[in-house]
Symmetry: C2
Subunit: 347 residues, 2 copies
């Protein structure tokens, strides 16, 4: 119920996903009457969608603290609850990010060994798989060195199971690549992450900069939620600006318009590559259950992309593997910090 475009956009996205994927089923949370009316128009969803009646709605302006105390009975609460009681494998929401994270933390609880859960996003890159993972992009405005180590472990699990990268390469986002650069917690995290590569089964490339976000030399970019959120929105805003400039350029005269017509196929491919809707879906990591946050402004295409991501993660059994890895690697990481020649196990 919580997206900018209301439940009609959500149901349109579900219909797109249902048409493409015969293995998917839905539980839809919200006011029964309104949703039934919308579902009746979508024959693709017939027999594949159950309803959970919930009258309350979490709005974009609601503060997370309020929602935690008074959120019972909202569609958001109900959706998280269906993951909690194992009815749903994964929850997808377009609603208020802060409230969704707060509810997810109190209802699903943090994984053993995790202090700060994180939101991971996919970033278009020059890598073979076409994407890098960046986290945290907004779960928490602060992260200490041990949190950044956990982000590295959670991010590599995501890259392995969501993107199929066997041994992901991790970079720590900083204002320079030299060892002496950056804040104190980054220098401490630098050492912690470097010591955890064997246990965590990843490679560490060291500090990376903003320009490396689409780079082919890294798969997982680790940062605090304040910096990650600014970087994510800056990247999206820049891509949109360049896209708008491109449209203007091709509308600048008859010749340009004719050229655009000729290059239509190529331009559409380009648009697809930089379309933020295609990489829609921030994944909440570090909880007992998977939650995917879609953009509030997502349309049917964007919501369908978020559902696809949720389905891929659910199918990979990633949640169970992540839990096992974080538990073992956090322990092993602590041991390794004390005793540098210990061998960890790989999950």
């Amino acid at each position: 119920m919580g997206g900018d475009n209301g439940p009609a956009a959500v149901i349109a996205g579900m219909a797109l996903s249902a048409a493409k994927n015969p293995d998917i089923e839905f539980i839809l949370h919200g006011p029964e009457e309104e949703l039934t009316r919308l579902l009746d128009k979508r024959p693709e969803l017939k027999g594949r969608c159950r309803l959970r009646h919930a009258t309350g709605v979490v709005s974009m302006d609601d503060k997370p603290g309020q929602v935690m105390r008074h959120g019972e009975g909202t569609s958001m609460w109900s959706a998280i609850e269906s993951v909690r009681n194992r009815e749903a494998t994964v929850a997808v929401s377009c609603g208020n990010t802060g409230a969704l994270m707060a509810l997810s933390v109190i209802r699903l609880r943090k994984l053993p060994g995790v202090n700060r859960p994180a939101i991971a996003c996919l970033w278009p890159s020059r890598n073979e798989v076409g994407f890098n993972v960046m986290l945290d992009v907004g779960a928490d405005i602060k992260a200490e060195a041990p949190d950044l180590l956990q982000y590295a472990l959670m991010g590599t699990s995501y890259a392995r199971n969501g993107l199929g990268i066997a041994r992901p390469r991790v970079g720590l986002l900083n204002v320079g690549t030299e060892d002496h650069k950056g804040r104190a917690e980054l220098k401490a995290a630098h050492d912690l992450v470097a010591a955890a590569t064997e246990t965590g089964d990843f490679d560490y490339v060291g500090f990376v900069e903003g320009g490396d976000l689409p780079s082919a030399r890294v798969d997982v970019i680790v940062t605090d939620g304040f910096t990650g959120n600014v970087a994510l929105k800056t990247g999206e805003g820049t891509a949109k600006l360049v896209g708008d400039f491109l449209k203007e350029a091709f509308n600048a005269g008859m010749l340009s318009r004719f050229a655009a017509l000729l290059a239509l196929g190529s331009l559409k491919r380009l648009q697809r590559r930089i379309d933020p809707r295609r990489v829609n879906g921030g994944v909440f990591l570090g909880l007992n259950g998977t939650v995917v946050k879609s953009h509030g402004s997502a349309d049917a295409t964007g919501i369908s992309a978020a559902i696809k991501l949720a389905f891929t993660l659910a199918k990979s059994g990633y949640q169970e593997r992540l839990a096992a890895r974080v538990a073992s690697a956090t322990q092993a990481g602590q041991d390794a910090a004390q005793n540098n020649n210990e061998n960890g196990t790989s999950t």
Copy 2:
């Protein structure tokens, strides 16, 4: 001497600027023999360029602290010195940013009332003038609330004198636009900046997000040097990625290549609009003297853009106005914080 492309690129950039601008003169700092040989090939610079012999070079790997202690005799030190003794109106360097800032601070000294100097960059935007100002993009990895207020004052002075915007609109970079979002120092800065609009002669639009960096609703974006540096490099990296994708798209087949040929004029205009070399030049604000930092990797076009920016600022008498405004507004801002119905004067 300090850029990635050596003094040949610097002198090529100077030659470009000299050809375009009859009012410009240069003082060039570095090893006399090497520079004389390069200058002899540039008739455009004849009689318009004096040499200051300096044998030492600050490398990209030198740590700022080292350079502060042992930097005398380097070309960088000599260039700063020429601003200090008023021989030069403004210094331009492609060298090590940290070292350049450290030398600038100890030799030029901070303006009265300024705690942390800042580096301001221009950002392509949908504004009428085509650019927004963002600061700090890397002078200091930390900024407290009073520093952010000073950045607002310094940034609006820059926008007024460098871009000709009479009453700049200031935004504070945050992870959301709601008042309760972000770190404690941002909430404090929110109140400080809002209280300084009359004295500082600017408008305050409140919190802005990464996506607003190219926005038409703001002229000056204020943030700490860590976040600003990551945002700047993320934006540059994203623009480059999209540009590369665009090139690939137009190389994807005969028809696309033909279309690219037809649209060549439009595509070149687009490239100019997003070319990071055009907005090359971070301006050091808050010192007794103006220093412009060019990208280390700048070529002749980039260096010429940095020289043009330096010339515009020198010509505007901006340094003197900035000093007056920061002194009066910092004082008035402190008064206003104590007594909210005081009227400040406008410099």
